[in-house]
Amino acid sequence: MSKSAKRELHIRVDHLTRVEGHGNIVVNVSNGKIEDCRWEVVEAPRFFEAMVRGRKWYEMHHITCRICGICSIGHTLASLQATEAALGIEVSEQTVLLRKLALHAENLQSHILHVGYLVLPDLMGVGSVVPLAGSHPAELKTVIRIHRLSNEFSDTICGRTTHPQRLVPGGFVKYPKVDELKKLRQGLTEALSDLKEVARLVCSLAERFPAFSRETEYIALKSNQEYAMYHGQVGSSDGGTWAPGQYKEVTNEFCVPHSTAKYTKHNRDSYMVGALARFNLNSDRLTPEARAVAGLFKLKPVCYNSFMNNVAQIVECVHSVEDSINIIDRALGRGLALEDIPPIKVCAGRGVSAVEVPRGILFHDYQYDDAGTCIGANLIIPTNQNHNNIYHDLQALLPSLLGKPEKEIELGLEMLVRAYDPCISCSAHYLKVKFKK
């Protein structure tokens, strides 16, 4: 008789890595039968949609970027686009170029933080990044070098790494200098070889990613021009595209009692957003080096292994760096001009935006009265869209782990949730797993 047949297992992971909040994994297996396998989100709700009611159009990006410190640039851009759509503000080509750079800076920063400080320790069999300082100093320094560069990247474009100040409705209130952009270009070029080194390292450990597969739907922005991040149509791996304004047809939010974050679903039980979703929908539009790194891992669309989201993040890091170099060349080629913010006529209106942030597609939907005061808002953040998919993935993964020792089950479940990119946490072993015997 197999070991799993009469397995007794009661797992409670309290406050797992914050996936945009505090989350718990709860598992109860009795007599080999899975009685409970839940992903709970217990983060204190913050009520942003209600909070912004009564605030002015020029404050919205400042407030809503405080939803998440890690993708504050993405929230800022989604917010600006929604406000601009509502008030009919047109932005210049230079503004779009600089905003795309800002988004790449954040994507690189967030992904390298996750892959380097969080996933790598898992793959190397240690509890956190701290032991790597002793065992793998060169590798850790490479990761820190890329991370620091990504912060300097944000600083150069946005004036700050978290909660940017230069980005406002209509454009920028302060610009990077030509010299700064040239220096940044140099740094990015050097980072390309650093990133390939990290990719090779992860690739050499890739057999540690479980060979898991569960068919699901992937939702991401799609564009005819590029690997869509800043704008595009909402696309599905099951087929079809929707304008950002039709987002509700895709997200279909609903509440579940064990989660303060709302769940979403579209064609199937759940869908996934994030780097893997973007890769699955847009891999043919990646830059050449990024495609080469995908090849290194034999990553091909459509990949149904959620663990491969980590690999898609590495691919995207390379893409963000390479594409940023191209954008800087374009920006410098056309000459950096100090532009005035276009005149803004405050009026009543509604605006919806969809922007790809590190963890997936993000929607902001605002309604203003004729004084430019917000009278309604709806915000759908990436991680919330993933909760339901995490839940279904856990259900699918657990049976295959049941024959293994407890420690391995625990690690497998942790790694699965982490693959979705659960926030910062660099040094501490923050997981609390409890087995009740």
């Binding site: 309290d14 204190a44 209600a50 605030r55 620091r148 912060n151 978290t162 100040q165 302060k174 910062i424």
Partner: protein, 246 residues
């Protein structure tokens, strides 16, 4: 001598302050070399570990979180609030000025009763706080400076003069002259007036100075055509809890 044990906790917030700690890069390894981080990111209830310093991010927005912060307070020798959400309540307090029933229904519809919440408050409204690292997000250098002072048993220096002083030092042109609003005259300095330097204005994230001269501020802002109502709205962006408590 054993290294001081540090624990980091978060409540309702965006984690931007914790990210600032990570962003110290090599410096963080340096600082970490002098302390031992025993918890980062969640309350390890079951842990018998004790800690000397607790760094707390985020506002308290639920009754259940009160118990958690009280337990942390009991274990910690020194409790430091980091970031506006923790030090003054921050933007979370904006919801305090709306009807709570409405707020919950607006976000969660007919499932509103599943989710508990109450008026957001700073950590100091629930338990005593030994030191504040202000800002939204915190300033990395200031964080290190405060931590160093605490490790040496000193009282950290927190400015009690307005951002305008920092702003003058930074050599900025005053935005009031451009007809823009600014919270600088009544906001606690220490950030180097970074937002104004980056082209914005001061939103007031570090909270009001201890004894803000509101009459003078009103008079000053009035001179630039800014009404008391508008100024109040700006105070409620970050420092609503204080306004509410008065």
């Amino acid at each position: 001598m054993s290294k001081p044990r540090v624990a980091i906790f978060d409540f309702a917030g965006c984690e931007g302050d914790q990210l600032q700690i990570v962003n110290l890069e090599e410096v963080v390894l340096d600082v970490l070399g002098q302390v031992e981080i025993v918890t980062w990111r969640e309350a390890m209830k079951e842990q018998s570990d004790h800690y000397d310093i607790a760094l707390v991010e985020g506002s308290i927005t639920r009754k259940s979180d009160e118990e958690r912060i009280k337990a942390i307070r009991e274990k910690a020798g020194i409790l430091v609030a980091i970031g506006a959400c923790a030090t003054i309540g921050g933007i979370n307090c904006m919801k305090n000025f709306q009807d709570e029933k409405f707020v919950r229904r607006y976000v969660y519809g007919d499932k509103a009763h599943w989710y508990n919440t109450y008026a957001a408050r700073p950590v100091s409204a629930v338990v005593p706080v030994d030191a504040n690292v202000h800002g939204c997000p915190i300033n990395r250098e200031e964080f290190v400076q405060v931590l160093k002072a605490l490790l040496q048993g000193k009282k950290p220096f927190i400015p009690n003069y307005p951002v305008c002083v920092d702003c003058k030092k930074a050599g900025n042109v005053c935005v009031l002259l451009k007809g823009q609003f600014c919270m600088g005259p009544v906001t606690r300095a220490g950030c180097g007036a970074c937002c104004i330097t980056e082209g914005a204005y001061c939103w007031g994230c570090r909270g009001l100075v201890d004894d803000p001269n509101m009459d003078a501020a009103r008079e000053l802002l009035g001179r630039f055509g800014i009404s008391a109502g508008e100024a109040l709205g700006q105070i409620r962006l970050y420092d609503g809890y204080r306004e509410e408590a008065r």
